[in-house]
C-alpha cells in the first residue's frame, strides 16, 4: 500500500513538474498547421473555428 502510494506520488509529482514546466492549461484551443502567409495582409482569408462559438 505504502509502496503503491510512493509510486502514485511519484507520478503525481512528475505530472506536476511536467505540467508546470510546459504551462499546462485547460483553455480550449485548436492547433492548425500551415496557415497561409497572406493572413497578415488579408485577415479575412482565415476563418477561426471558434468564430461561431455559441454565445449570448
Amino acid at each position: 500500500m505504502i509502496r503503491a502510494f510512493v509510486v502514485f506520488a511519484a507520478l503525481v509529482l512528475g505530472g506536476f513538474a511536467y505540467g508546470t514546466y510546459t504551462g499546462a492549461s485547460f483553455t480550449q484551443y485548436n492547433q492548425i498547421n500551415n496557415v497561409p502567409k497572406s493572413i497578415r495582409n488579408n485577415p479575412g482569408v482565415y476563418r477561426s473555428v471558434y468564430a461561431r462559438y455559441p454565445h449570448k
Binding site: M1, I2, A4, F5, V6, F8, A9, V12, L13, G15, F16, A17, G19, T20, Y21, T22, G23, A24, S25, T27, Q28, Y29, N30, Q31, I32, N33, N34, V35, P36, K37, I39, R40, P43, G44, Y46, S48, V49, Y50, A51, Y53, H55, K56
Partner: protein, 639 residues
C-alpha cells in the same frame, strides 16, 4: 562461617551467615539453635512438602549486582497453595529474602519501620499505606501457615505457626510485606523481580524441562466418579478438575476434597489440548488448565476461553481467546496510575478503558493454582493500548493486574504445532493492532513530504518563470465595419516551450463582445485558435444592485514554442466597443499545485477512513461504542 556438628546425629553443620541462629540438620532433620559457638538441638523440624519450586539450597543468583546464595527456606501454605521464603546470604554479608509463589518472585529485606504499622485487622485491600516515605497499596491479605523450614535461618522457625501477612505494592514494582506473626509486626521492603533478572545458577532439574525424561505427573482417582485424574504442575496448583465428571478437587493437601461440581451437561472442548507445550518469546509453556468464563450484558452471555500455561521456572501465563482473537497474558507486579477519565497510565503508555463486567466461570478443565469453582466471579476490567491489554481482576481479597499482548492465531498455531484449525476471527479484537494505523501515519508523513516537494517545485517555478509582457495593443470594434478582423504586429516569444497568457479587457456595459483569436507563428505557419467572450451586465432589482460577468478575461495557451508570432483577432458583439489585448510569456500558475496536493492527500485520507472503520468495529464491542464514525476520541461518546 561457623562449622560444627549436629548434637543429635553428629553430622557436619555449617552456619554460613552470621545472622543465622537456626539451622536444620540435613541428615536427621533436627532443629539446631546456635548459642554463640554452641549448638543445641531443640527438636525435629516438620518435613517440607514436595513442591515444584525451581530453587534449592545452594542456588546462586544476582540481585541488582549483588551475588547471593540461597542458604535456607521457610515453606508456608496460603490460600492459593505453597509459598516459599528463601533465605539469601549476599556476598556483602547482607541477609535477605526471596519470596516465591506460583512463579512470582520478590526480593525483600527486613527494614525498620519509621512509623507505627497498622494492625492486621485494620488492613483492607486497596488501602494505601506510607512506608518509609513511599506509598504502598495493600494487594493481598493472607493468613499463611508455616509448614517448616530447612537450611539456616535468622530466627527460630517451627512448623504449624500462623503467619498473618499482608503484601503491598508500591511504584515501579516496589514490594513490601508486613508479617504479623510476631508481637511487633515486621516490615520487609524490596522489589518484585523477574525470574530471568535474578540470573540463577544451580537450579533444580525438572524431568522433560531440563532433560529429555518423560514429564513427571501425579495421577489419582477422582473422589467423585472414580475416573483417572492427572496433576501436571506438581504442588504449584491447588485444584484439579476431573476430566470425566468435571468435579473440581482440592489437591492442596493429601486429603482430597470436592471444591465444586459441574452441573451443566455441555462440555467445552479446548482448541489447545491440555498437556500441549507451546513456545513463546519468553519460554516454553505447557497447557495445564482451561476455563470458560462469561459476562452478561443486557441479558446476553458473552463467553471467552482461557488457557493456563505453566513452566516450572517461569511460572504461569494465560492465553485468552474470544471470537478467534488471542491474547498472551502474564501477571504483572507493576501498577498503573488511574487517570481522571477512568483510563490507566501504565509503563508510560495510556490504556483506554474497554470493558468492565462481572466475569463468571462456567466451565473448567485441568488444574489451577487457586481453588477454582464453578460460578466464581470477579470484577474484570479490560484496558487496551493495542497490541497490549491490561486486565484488572478484583475480588474482596485481592486485585490482580495482568498485561497481555495480542497474538495472531497463526502465532498460536505455530507455537503449539496445531494441525486443527483455530476458531475463525470475528470482528475486531479489543487489543488487536490495527493494520492501518501504522500505514495511515506513514502515508500522512509521506504525503507531507511529497507536498513539501511540490511546494518547492512551485516556488522554483515562481522564481524562474519569465512572466513577461511581450505584446499589447488597444483596438476598437465597430459593428458597422465590413471587415472586423485585425492582425497585430509581429512580436517575439522566447524561452522553452511554455505557456502564453492572452489577457483581454473590453469596455462593455450590459453588453458582450466575443473575440475569435488565433496566435499565429509567423515562422512556421502554426495557428493556435481560440475564442473568448467578455460580457458584463449590471442593474438593480428587489434585492438591490447586482452585476454579472467581467470586463476582463485571461486565456492560457500551453506549450507554445519560441518564435515570431502575431495575433489575428475577429470580434463579434452586441454593440461597438473598445478593447485591449496583452500577451504575456511563461506565466506561473497555482492551479496545478493545488491539483497535485489534492491527489497526494487522497491515499492518506483513504487509509484514515479504513483506520477509523477498524476502530469503529473495535469499540463497538466495548462499553464505549463510537457514536460517530469520524469521532477522533473514542471512549467518551456515551458519556
Amino acid at each position: 562461617m561457623l562449622k560444627s556438628r549436629c548434637p543429635a546425629c553428629g553430622a557436619g553443620v555449617t552456619f554460613q551467615s552470621t545472622v543465622s541462629i537456626m539451622a536444620v540438620c540435613e541428615h536427621c532433620n533436627s532443629t539446631l539453635i546456635r548459642h554463640d559457638v554452641d549448638i543445641e538441638a531443640v527438636g525435629k523440624m516438620a518435613t517440607l512438602q514436595v513442591d515444584a519450586s525451581p530453587l534449592q539450597l545452594g542456588t546462586r543468583g544476582d540481585y541488582r549486582g549483588a551475588a547471593f546464595t540461597v542458604v535456607g527456606r521457610i515453606q508456608l501454605r496460603f490460600d492459593r497453595g505453597l509459598w516459599n521464603e528463601w533465605h539469601l546470604l549476599f556476598s556483602d554479608g547482607r541477609s535477605g529474602w526471596l519470596g516465591e509463589a506460583q512463579g512470582t518472585y520478590a526480593v525483600s529485606f527486613l527494614t525498620e519501620s519509621t512509623q507505627d504499622l497498622p494492625s492486621f485487622e485494620a488492613l483492607k485491600i486497596g488501602n494505601t499505606i506510607e512506608l518509609r516515605g513511599e506509598a504502598f497499596r495493600v494487594e493481598n491479605i493472607e493468613s499463611a501457615r508455616c509448614i517448616g523450614g530447612e537450611g539456616e535461618l535468622p530466627f527460630k522457625v517451627e512448623g504449624g505457626y500462623e503467619a498473618p501477612v499482608a503484601d503491598l505494592l508500591g511504584e515501579k514494582a516496589a514490594f513490601a510485606t508486613i508479617d504479623y506473626s510476631e508481637d511487633q509486626p515486621l516490615l520487609f521492603v524490596g522489589r518484585y523481580v523477574e525470574f530471568d533478572d535474578l540470573r540463577f545458577a544451580n537450579l533444580r532439574e525438572f524431568d522433560s524441562w531440563t532433560n529429555s525424561t518423560s514429564p513427571r505427573v501425579k495421577s489419582f482417582t477422582c473422589i467423585q466418579c472414580g475416573g483417572a485424574v492427572t496433576q501436571r504442575a506438581l504442588m504449584q496448583t491447588t485444584s484439579v478438575v476431573c476430566p470425566s465428571c468435571g468435579t473440581v478437587i482440592d489437591v492442596s493437601n493429601d486429603n482430597l476434597t470436592v471444591l465444586s461440581k459441574y452441573a451443566e451437561k455441555t462440555k467445552v472442548r479446548p482448541d489447545i489440548p491440555i498437556g500441549s507445550r507451546g513456545t513463546f518469546p519468553d519460554g516454553t509453556f505447557e497447557v495445564i488448565g482451561f476455563m470458560q468464563r462469561f459476562v452478561t450484558v443486557e441479558e446476553i452471555r458473552y463467553h471467552w476461553r482461557e488457557y493456563l500455561l505453566f513452566n516450572p521456572f517461569k511460572g504461569f501465563r494465560w492465553l485468552s481467546e474470544y471470537n478467534g482473537h488471542w491474547n498472551y497474558i502474564k501477571s504483572t507486579p507493576y501498577r498503573p496510575a488511574i487517570m481522571g477519565n477512568g483510563n490507566l497510565y501504565f509503563k508510560e503508555q495510556l490504556f483506554q478503558h474497554f470493558q468492565s463486567a462481572q466475569a463468571k466461570v462456567d466451565y473448567v478443565l485441568g488444574e489451577f493454582y487457586w481453588r477454582v469453582e464453578y460460578g466464581e466471579s470477579c470484577l474484570a476490567q479490560d484496558f487496551v493500548a493495542p497490541p497490549e491489554l491490561l486486565s484488572v481482576e478484583q475480588t474482596d481479597k485481592e486485585i490482580a493486574y495482568s498485561l497481555g499482548r495480542y497474538a495472531e492465531p497463526e502465532e498460536i498455531r505455530q507455537a503449539f504445532h496445531l494441525t486443527t484449525p483455530l476458531p475463525p476471527r470475528i470482528g475486531v479484537g479489543g487489543s488487536q493492532p490495527s493494520p492501518h494505523a501504522r500505514k495511515a501515519a506513514q502515508a500522512l508523513r509521506l504525503a507531507g513530504l511529497f507536498i513539501a516537494i511540490a511546494f518547492l517545485l512551485q516556488i522554483a517555478t515562481l522564481a524562474l518563470s519569465q512572466n513577461r509582457l511581450v505584446y499589447q495593443t488597444s483596438l476598437a470594434f465597430n459593428a458597422a465595419d465590413a471587415e472586423k478582423s485585425r492582425v497585430s504586429d509581429v512580436f517575439e516569444i522566447n524561452g522553452r516551450p511554455s505557456n502564453v497568457m492572452v489577457r483581454t479587457n473590453a469596455n462593455v456595459n450590459n453588453a458582450w463582445v466575443y473575440l475569435s483569436m488565433a496566435l499565429i507563428n509567423d515562422d512556421t505557419g502554426t495557428a493556435y485558435d481560440f475564442g473568448r467572450e467578455i460580457s458584463y451586465y449590471s442593474g438593480t432589482d428587489s434585492d438591490g444592485a447586482w452585476t454579472e460577468g467581467s470586463r476582463s478575461d485571461k486565456a492560457f495557451l500551453p506549450s507554445i514554442p519560441a518564435g515570431h508570432y502575431y495575433l489575428r483577432i475577429e470580434p463579434e458583439g452586441s454593440g461597438s466597443t473598445s478593447y485591449s489585448v496583452q500577451v504575456y510569456r511563461d506565466v506561473p500558475r497555482w492551479w496545478l499545485f493545488f491539483v497535485a496536493v489534492g491527489l497526494l492527500v487522497v491515499p492518506p485520507v483513504i487509509l484514515f477512513i479504513m483506520q477509523r472503520s477498524f476502530e469503529y468495529k473495535r469499540w463497538s464491542e466495548s462499553d464505549h461504542p463510537m457514536s460517530k464514525f469520524l469521532n477522533v476520541s473514542s471512549g467518551d461518546d456515551d458519556e
